[in-house]
Amino acid sequence: MKVLTIARNTFREAIRDKILYNLLFFALLMIAASLLLATLTVGEQSKIIIDIGLASINVFGALIAIFLGIGLIIKEIEKKTIYNILAKPVPRYQFLIGKYIGLLITILVNIVIMGAGLYIILILNELRWGHSIFDVNFDIWKAIYLIFIELMVITAIALMFSTFSSSSTLSAIFTIAAYIIGHLTEELKLIGDKVQDSLLKGPITFFYYFLPNLDNFNIKGRVVHRLDVPSSYIALVTVYGLFYVAVILLLSGVIFQRRDFK
């Protein structure tokens, strides 16, 4: 129950954050602007809208996860409120998990708002061309769902960095770097396949399997062209995400447990 209380408080605190509203505002603005950009194209207008919309949800979702995620612990330390909490009979790992869940709920709410915005824009686009609203590509929700799983991983990474770093800027840079690396993991496999040297092949294979492979969660390209995404794939990737989150949270717990607050 303590976890849920912390989660609830984290959520309340997060929705008071100005950064959140700025990011949400820009995301919705981008999604709405896609309607304008779509008029520049010939052929499928909805492709441009979905591409811009999903990319906005992904980018701004990641920014929310990174900037609120790193603040989770660091802010508590800066404001010295962490002493009050840790003085109470709350195990540190519960505090950590509570914070994590609170932020996930915040992100979920934001993702749903952005997704709904995109969906409304898509409906408007279909109506503008005299089509039925049932022509709207419903599969965008599959892509949005996997974006959320990706953000779960990113939030966990941000949280982990904030458990041992005392600088928000540094943690932000680390997390953004992890985000970029996570999207380049796929390239590692290509390099690994080409490398003959077994001394080099070993580390490359190791990193390929143990760095987060964020491209797994990227089905934007398939969804926009209405290509089938098997449910088994979505299930498998969800499990991958959850396991990755579990590993990072365990690691964060260990680091946080040992951290000495002076």
Binding site: L37, L40, T41, V42, G43, E44, K47, I48, D51, I52, L54, A55, N58, V59, Y179, I180, H183, L184, E187, L214, D215, N218, K220, G221, R222, V224, H225, L227
Partner: protein
């Protein structure tokens, strides 16, 4: 921002800001004057190959493809685009389709404009063949390759083969198998070319492409009518042992029921020197379908 608004109480701040903003508008207008249309296309030259761009856009391939696509289609069809410009447009579309290989419409529009507007059918076919590999179920792509082979590369055999491929794909129009079959046996016949062009005209949405196709359709009608009239002249000569002075004599002699209307608004005339029929508007007879 807040501090700035507070300072705005000074009487000169707002006029100064307005003056600066207006100056910015003037300066930007001047800068824009330096950037012509050709400059815009030249930017495609510095576009890295799609293979290198792909890792750099970390999971946002579709968005990156859209940005290049939107830039490219603003330029396509502009009269200022030089033949070299179409090479760059090809490069841009190649990058777009490497980033987003399932973007079938990019192959289709690119394929048509590169051949019909850009007169670079080889590049058009290269793009379309890439599209066929990535989207084997889209019938329009082999249809366009067939069109290029027929009208620009004069390769009737390959035109017929691609048309046959298109006619086996889902969603193909009902006329397609018949057209493919006719291409195999009557490739030199203007009627086949005419049907092909009319179908192509219906499949294309681009106004510039349609204008060129319309011109081409009329030229083929001229060729068809000219052949029809020459055949009538020949039959007339067989009977009367002399060329008619005017084409209208063919009607008077009951060989044909009427002289076809010239589609460009001109008229047909018979030249006894070479025994051929010409249009008053289209001076040269089409060589493509001539035997």
């Amino acid at each position: 921002m807040h501090a700035l608004l507070l300072k705005a109480k000074h009487p000169f701040v707002i006029p100064l800001m307005a003056a600066l903003a207006f100056s910015l508008y003037i300066i930007q207008h001047q800068i824009a004057g330096y950037k012509g249309m050709e400059k815009k296309i030249e930017e495609f030259v510095i576009l890295p190959k799609g293979e290198y761009l792909k890792p750099a856009v970390i999971g946002y391939e579709q968005l990156a493809a859209d940005i290049i696509w939107l830039q490219a289609i603003q330029v396509i069809g502009e009269d200022t685009v030089t033949p070299k410009g179409y090479d760059w447009i090809y490069h841009a579309l190649d990058v777009v389709t490497t980033l987003d290989p399932k973007f079938a419409y990019a192959y289709q529009l690119g394929g048509v404009t590169l051949s019909v507007l850009g007169k670079v059918p080889e590049k058009s076919n290269a793009l379309l063949l890439k599209g066929m590999r990535e989207n084997p179920d889209v019938w329009q792509i082999p249809f366009y390759i067939g069109f290029n082979s027929f009208f620009y590369l004069n390769d009737y055999r390959s035109a017929a083969e691609y048309m046959a491929k298109a006619s086996k794909l889902p969603g193909h129009p009902a006329y397609l198998p018949k057209l493919a079959a006719r291409l195999y046996v009557q490739a030199g016949d203007p009627d086949v070319a005419l049907e092909f062009l009319l179908r192509m005209y219906k499949e294309t949405g681009d106004e510039k492409v349609r204008a060129i196709l319309e011109q081409r359709i009329k030229e083929v009608i001229v060729e068809r009518d000219a052949r029809f009239l020459e055949e009538a002249v020949r039959r007339s000569k067989d009977v009367y042992k002399a060329y008619p002075e005017k084409l209208i004599e063919l009607v008077e002699r009951g060989i044909i029921t009427g002289v076809p209307r010239e589609p460009f608004g001109g008229y047909y005339y018979f030249n006894p020197e070479d025994g051929r029929v010409y249009s008053s508007v289209v001076k040269e007879r089409m060589r493509v379908y001539g035997k």
